[in-house]
């Protein structure tokens, strides 16, 4: 059977010690049995390693940060599309999703398909409103509050016991044992990601995660649970293993079914000693460890592309339990001319 030729644009090429999901997503679609893909990388920084991984990415374009405004970003995408004829665009950063979701109609007019959560789905799963999400969908969540000022810290300390988790609205989380630490972490995160800061009750247990894909009609197209086996000082999984955990999959199916989730997602949960599960975060995109799902038998990146193209995708329920991923670092050697091209022309 001949493969269908398509062009996919993807962000998240920062395959660093705090990796974006771009490269693992691209590895997944490159392994597709149905698509012959041309990959267009979209990069924010000129040292994102994926830019220089030519065996995975055919061409990379720099794009402006979402903070520059959606018009600027969309104009740039328009230019790239005039050269590349993009079939599917897959944003991989939380911070850019809003802009791409808002612009999905404009992108569609350009012939670019996306498969993203709706604005309502995106908003209601925010860390700052997780307690409301838990209540609405009958999912256990730890107590948490979004705060905008240090003056609110004493009130929270009366409400919850130490330790507390201090979290940014998009990224970063620290465990604080004193009010001074809450204050330090709050300022550190706010300087990077802005306000509010989320103060969350600390639930003791083992962190377990699920990568999943919802079809937007309440069906789970695929889901693979994982436990981190090795965690970096940034809290990122450097190794992990797929789990046989039907309860975790039941919770995933319940969330996808009740929210009619559209697109990729990562559920972060804590399993307590008593076997209770607490949802601590929903990331509205495929995570950086998504290639584990491919290795375990569920090519979720390929399925996401098919959904974006409006194709029917049969749900995948099987995966190999006990499949491990282990990350490694690797030095790419590049000629300065490549860096020069990207820096001066914004393309490589």
């Amino acid at each position: 059977m001949s493969k269908n030729k398509i062009t996919i644009a993807a962000t998240g090429l920062n395959n660093t010690d705090n990796p974006g999901p771009g490269i693992p997503f691209i590895r997944g679609v490159r392994e597709s049995k149905e698509f012959d893909v041309r990959i267009v990388g979209l990069a924010y920084e000129n040292l994102e390693p994926g830019i220089y991984m030519h065996e995975l990415i055919n061409k990379t374009y720099q794009i402006p940060y979402p903070s520059s405004g959606s018009d600027v970003l969309i104009r740039r995408i328009e230019y790239i599309n005039s050269l590349e004829n993009i079939d599917v665009l897959v944003p991989n950063f939380d911070a850019e999703l809003y802009t791409f979701m808002k612009s999905s109609d404009k992108l569609k007019e350009m012939g670019i398909n996306t498969f993203l959560p709706t604005l309502e789905q995106f908003e209601e799963r925010h860390k700052s409103v997780l307690p409301e999400f838990g209540k609405k969908y009958d999912i256990k969540v730890p107590g948490s509050r979004a705060i905008f000022s240090e003056r609110e810290i004493p009130e929270i300390i009366n409400e919850y016991k130490y330790p507390l988790l201090v979290k940014g609205k998009y990224y970063e989380a620290y465990v604080a044992y004193t009010s001074e630490q809450v204050s330090i972490f709050m300022n550190r995160i706010a300087a990077k990601w802005g306000l509010p800061i989320i103060i969350q009750e600390f639930v003791r247990g083992t962190e377990v995660n699920v990568v999943a894909l919802g079809d937007g009609n309440g069906n789970t197209i695929g889901a693979v649970p994982m436990r981190k086996q090795y965690i970096t000082d940034k809290g990122k999984a450097w190794a992990g293993i797929t789990l046989d955990d039907s309860k975790l999959l039941d919770i995933t199916n319940k969330i996808i079914s009740n929210t009619k989730w559209r697109g990729g997602m990562e559920l972060e949960m804590i399993k307590t000693e008593d076997g209770e599960y607490y949802l601590i975060e929903i990331n509205p995109r495929l995570p950086a460890w998504v290639y584990l799902s491919v290795g375990a038998g569920q090519n979720l990146p390929e399925a996401l592309v098919k959904l974006a193209l409006g194709e029917r995708v049969e749900p995948m329920t099987e995966y190999k339990k006990g499949t491990l991923f282990i990350r490694y670092s690797y030095d790419l050697i590049c000629d300065i001319s490549e860096f020069e091209k990207l820096t001066l022309n914004g393309e490589l």
Binding site: R227, Q229, L243, D244, G322
Partner: protein, 80 residues
């Protein structure tokens, strides 16, 4: 005593709990004991079988067996 259904034990003594991702290693006698528990043998029956097979005193066996079963419980390899 019951071995957790999610536990897989390889011939080399690698014990893997697919529900938690935890893994352990046990020696050949450990594998034998796990197999005996799987065959629904109780602690007394396991003790008698090991005493018949190995040159070991009763106090040493009792202490070691009890410690081993305690470890299996702590690791949630044993369900009850």
């Amino acid at each position: 005593m019951k071995i957790n259904k999610k536990i897989a034990v390889s011939e080399s003594g690698f014990v893997f709990d697919s529900s938690t991702g935890d893994s352990f290693s046990v020696n050949p006698i450990g594998i034998e004991i796990i197999e005996m528990i799987r065959d629904n043998k109780n602690e007394d029956e396991i003790k008698r079988e090991l005493l018949d097979k190995y040159d070991v005193s009763v106090p040493v066996l009792e202490k070691s067996l009890s410690e081993f079963i305690g470890s299996l419980r702590n690791a949630k390899i044993l369900e009850d």
